[in-house]
Each structure stands twice: as C-alpha cells, then as structure tokens.
Amino acid sequence: MKAKIFITLKDDVLDPQGKAISKSLKNLGFEGISDVRQGKLIEIKIDNDNKSKVFNEIDNMCKKLLANTVVENYKIEITE
C-alpha cells in the first residue's frame, strides 16, 4: 500500500518560509493572496495489505519520527 503524509505547521506557529513565499508572490504581481503556509509531503510504500494496520503503523511513524508534534500537525492518507 501507499501512504501519503501531510505535515503542516500548527496554526499559531510562525512560518518564516510561508511568509517569504507570500511576499515574493505579491512582488510577482499575484493578488488576493492572504495566507501561505509551507509544509511537507512524505510518501511511503509499505508492504502490507491491511489498511487499518498500515494506518496505525504510519501513525506510529509520524509520532516517533516524521512529525515534530511540538510545532506540527499531520494527516495520513492511505491509497491503493
């Protein structure tokens, strides 16, 4: 199976990258942009067909390594 993990900064955490991107887009003439946040997307292939087991496994990976839960939230999507 394949898992996608979306890791985003918690809402109240400063996102310097998002801030810089937003400014640059405005300088390039794009309008109406109000909020830019940059996060991570991690894709993992895992040798296991049991969807709920995979989900739990990935959730564990997020807690242990992939996300820094001090400042980040994560969301898991299982496909295939």
């Binding site: 810089a20 991107i21 640059s24 300088n27 390039l28």
Partner: protein, 229 residues
C-alpha cells in the same frame, strides 16, 4: 574595473567579495540593491554568497525573481561577465542563466571545509591564470551544493568543456569519496555556453589571504584582469 556587486536581503558574503575584489583587482565596486531596475556601467557582475531570502522555498529561488535580475539577464546575454558564488550560483540556475540546479547535500548537512578542486578547463575568463588540471584548495560552506541536471545536460556540459571545477582529492583524483556533497560528476563550477557566466559553489573570495592559510582562490579574480587589457 567597474564591478556591480548585487545585494539581496540575506546576502552575507557581499562584504567579503567586495574586499577581495578591491584587494586583488583594484576594482571599483558598486553595491547594487536588488530593488534597483538597472545596473550602473559595469565590466563584471558578481552575485555573492549568503542566504538570500533565508534560502526559503529553494535557495536562490526568490532572489531570482528580483527586479535587478532583468537587467542582469540582459547584460549576461550581451556577454558581460557574471560570477555567481555559492548562493550566487544557486540564483543563476534559478534564473536559468545556467543549467541544472543545486539540491540538498547528500549528507543533508551544512558543510564548511576546505575542498580540493581540479581546474578542468582554464580556457575561460575566470580560470585563464590557472593551469589546466591544476589542483587547488578552496573552501565550501553550503547546505545545498549538490549539483543536479538531467543526463543530456551533463553530457552537453562535459562535451562542450563547460565544467570548470570538479571536486577531487589532494592528488587530483575525481572520485566518489572526494565528492563533498553528492554533485553529479563532482561538479563544483560551470559556465554558460558563451562562457561569460560562471557559477561555483566554493568560495574563492575566502581564499586569497595568506593569513587564513589559503590563497588558491586568487586567480578566479586575477584571471579577470586579462579581459580588459
């Protein structure tokens, strides 16, 4: 020689480059702020190292959209020499003045150390005072110096002699173990097809002063003296 040294928010080797240019080639250096729309009269454009826009998004990406880049691109296409060092190299690839891109070091760490380089081609305005295959020592200091380009681009660079510096060991051997960051073919510096634009990750402006025990970067600058004889 009149030099335009471009400053972006977050540039931090601009002063080092200025001092090197003044000391080594008696350049008259104009510090040009990124918001300017045109360059003063100039014999050489230098894009210095640093962390323009904090290296956010991708190193060099945001700086490559600055106002001043329009005029830099215009000048570069006309043949004005451009030297991009470290972040300057990253900006040049993001601006498509040089092919390929600089990705995260393979070890995923910032790395600051002296590296040996082999001068692969001395037939450019930036390397003419070196001997071909000369082995020199110049420091690197970067997080994203891992040069990548598709195979056909690499082949083209190799075939047209546009790779100027390659990372090597102290005896000049270009091998995997002497590659500090994962760059394809140990590429440390390349030129565009008309050879007036050089991008390099190592910092020649940190290697000219005997006090810092390294002078091997000097000739990147002094070679340029020959262009306006």
């Amino acid at each position: 020689m009149k030099v335009s040294l471009i400053i972006f928010p977050g540039s931090n080797c601009d002063n080092d480059a200025k001092i090197a240019l003044e000391k080594l080639i008696k350049a008259k250096v104009n510090m040009v702020w990124h918001k300017e729309t045109s360059l003063p009269k100039t014999d050489l454009i230098v894009l210095p190292g640093g962390f323009s826009y904090g290296d956010y998004l991708r190193p060099g990406s945001i700086a490559s959209k600055s106002h001043i880049l329009f005029d830099i691109i215009k000048n570069g296409k006309k043949g004005t020499p451009i030297l991009g060092i470290c972040n300057g190299f990253q900006i040049l690839t993001e601006a498509k003045l040089l092919p390929g891109t600089l990705t995260r070091n393979i070890q995923l760490k910032f790395i600051c150390e002296n590296t040996y380089l082999r001068v692969v081609n001395n037939d450019t305005i930036f390397s003419s005072r070196y001997n071909n295959n000369e082995i020199i020592n110049i420091p690197i200091a970067h997080h994203d110096g891992n040069y990548f380009a598709p195979d056909h681009t690499i082949n083209e660079l190799e075939d047209s002699n546009r790779i100027i510096f390659k990372y090597c060991d102290k005896d000049g051997f270009v091998t995997k173990t002497t590659n500090p960051n994962g760059s394809i073919n140990n590429i440390a510096g390349i030129v565009n097809d008309s050879k007036n634009i050089l991008g390099m990750m190592p910092h020649p402006e940190r290697a000219y002063d005997p006090l810092t025990k390294n002078i091997d970067g000097t000739k990147v600058f002094t070679s340029l003296l020959d262009i306006i004889l």
